[in-house]
């Protein structure tokens, strides 16, 4: 199968702090991450001719970010699909580079959700807005965690999935986090009570937040950010690090429908597009960077992406299959420690691209030997109601 190698990730940076104590702004996190990612690539500000921004740092990003960075880009893309924005941005950057509209694309993310004490998971979601869908939903007091919990409940009902099976995802992710010094520091800075590898029993005995999801099945709320530089093959050849090619992409959304199946996400639409375009199969993936807002998110997305049939995810993940040191059992999951145990500043999609790139460069703290192919899948919005899915397939030379 021939693969088009027409855009590559050439520079990355993950902002190290998860608790800036209110002393750094999201914009500053974006700019510092951008400069470090450009340095990582061996490029400079003046090389950037395309910017992609979800607008999370405020302002009207399409008007204000180029000025803030001091750039004059020819392509300005402000797609915002929540946490999956960065997979969409990577797909669009590749498309724009292929079309000859750009040579060097810059994606940035910055958030101080922790410093701002935003109770993302159990916060308001009250006050009706003027969007008709929200005008129907707001009165019920559904927390974000309850939204995902309703997917988990239905998954258990339909397929017999258990809390112990869901806990496998938390356990594998925490194991990877304990090997990542930045993740360990994050858990220390965010004052996790018990920073160690966990067991299935730890997870299922942790406090119930919204049935059937326990505390250790929920992501953290941190500060953080990062940047990704994507370049044309001509530029990539002269960069400092080996290129990590974007081989395929897929995009989709899903929303509540009469008679719809809540256990199947938009990934069932975006995943096949991406794998088809890349000419590879889920079974060939060495790395699966899957948006782990909650345990159930990963389980549903692994099924939808085609790692196992729908409904069999619970049995498929059993026995520590997702650990980085089990390469013969399929892909390693979220080897940076994920949103569950490394960082989640609200929109985690960029970190999926960052760790997938580290793995394909051989730079991960839980390195899978000779990793060649990775999938990064972002889920934006809320899995149990309306959400967006962005799938990116990455490969090295």
């Amino acid at each position: 199968m021939s693969q088009d190698r027409d855009a590559a990730i050439v520079g990355i940076h993950e902002y190290p702090s998860r608790d800036v104590e209110g002393e750094v702004s999201p914009l500053q996190i974006k700019a510092e991450s951008a400069s470090r990612a450009l340095k990582d690539a061996g490029l400079n500000w003046s090389d950037v001719d395309a910017i992609y921004d979800a607008g999370e740092a405020g302002g009207m990003a399409g008007l204000t970010m180029a000025e803030y960075f001091g750039l004059s880009p020819n392509v300005i893309d402000t797609t915002n699909v929540g946490g999956s924005s960065y997979e969409f941005h990577a797909a669009h950057a590749r498309r724009d580079i292929r079309a000859g509209k750009a040579k060097v694309a810059l994606l940035t993310y910055g958030s101080t959700a922790h410093s701002n004490a935003r109770a993302i998971g159990v916060g308001g979601r009250g006050g009706a807005s003027m969007h008709p869908a929200e005008n129907m939903d707001a009165y019920a007091g559904m927390t974000l965690i309850a939204n995902y919990a309703m997917v988990a409940h239905r998954h258990m009902h339909q397929y017999g999935t258990t809390s112990e099976q869901l806990a496998e995802i938390s356990v594998a992710t925490r194991m990877h986090a304990m090997r990542n010094p930045e993740a360990v520091r994050a858990m220390e800075d965010l004052e996790f009570l018990d920073i160690r590898e966990t067991t299935i029993s730890d997870v299922v005995n942790s406090r119930m937040i919204a049935d059937p999801l326990h505390l250790l099945e929920c992501c953290m709320i941190s500060d953080g950010g990062g940047a990704v530089v994507i370049a044309s093959p001509e530029v990539a050849r002269d960069c400092r690090k080996a290129p990590v090619w974007i081989l395929g992409s897929g995009e989709a959304t899903k929303y509540p429908m009469s008679g719809g199946d809540i256990t199947t996400s938009a990934a069932a639409q975006s995943g096949p597009q991406a794998f088809l375009e890349a000419g590879v199969t889920p079974g060939e993936m060495d790395i699966a960077m899957i948006y782990d807002s909650f345990s159930i998110t990963v389980l549903a997305l692994l099924e939808d992406l085609g790692f196992c049939p729908k409904g069999e995810g619970g049995r498929w993940v059993e026995g520590g299959r997702l650990r980085f040191d089990r390469p013969n059992d399929g892909p390693a999951l979220n080897t940076d420690g994920g949103g569950l145990s490394s960082n989640h500043p609200g929109m985690r999609g960029i970190f999926l691209l960052l760790e997938a790139t580290r793995q394909l460069r051989g730079e991960s703290t839980s390195q899978v030997a000779d990793a060649k192919l990775a999938v990064a899948h972002g889920n934006g919005g809320m899995l149990g109601s309306r959400h967006a899915a962005g799938t990116i397939i990455l490969g090295r030379d």
């Binding site: 159990v122 005008n135 129907m136 009165y139 927390t143 509540p256 809540i262």
Partner: protein, 137 residues
């Protein structure tokens, strides 16, 4: 001191105003296309199934089932923090619409709610509208 109140919808939102107006009469209104028979919910002005269809308002029976649910144990919302534990559910009306609501009228939501459970609508009265909640049938 005013007690924190349940967040209420805006009665003047363009698409859903007719639905909320119906709740004053304790009617659960939904739309169906006279041409292609698509059930449209939440309310809109256009048919999502065909281009020329007229949407007709219908009134649901109020009979429903639990599609899925969660019991919220922790909320920071000023009203809902005092309601925990409470059941949030996606509820399937017999006629097709699926709505996010609460299951009420159970002694203990932790043990008395289940997926597939038959429900009946239970209107919670407010000044300008009623809120459709559901109780065991």
């Amino acid at each position: 001191m005013n007690e924190p109140k349940r967040p209420l919808p805006r009665a003047d939102e363009f698409d859903t105003q007719a639905f909320w107006a119906g709740t004053k009469e304790k009617e659960f209104r939904y739309q169906q296309c006279t041409q292609c028979e698509t059930v449209v919910f939440y309310a809109r002005r256009h048919c999502t199934g065909c281009l020329d269809g007229e949407l007709e308002w219908k009134v649901a029976s109020g009979r429903a089932t639990v599609y899925t649910y969660s019991v919220v144990r922790q909320s920071y919302h000023p009203f809902f923090r005092n309601q925990v534990p409470y059941a949030v559910a996606w509820v399937d009306l017999e006629e097709g619409p699926r709505i996010l609501s609460n299951i009420v009228g159970v002694a203990d939501p932790l043990t008395d709610v289940s997926i597939g459970m038959p429900l009946q609508i239970e209107w919670e009265e407010h000044d300008d509208l009623c809120i459709p909640l559901f109780k065991p049938a």
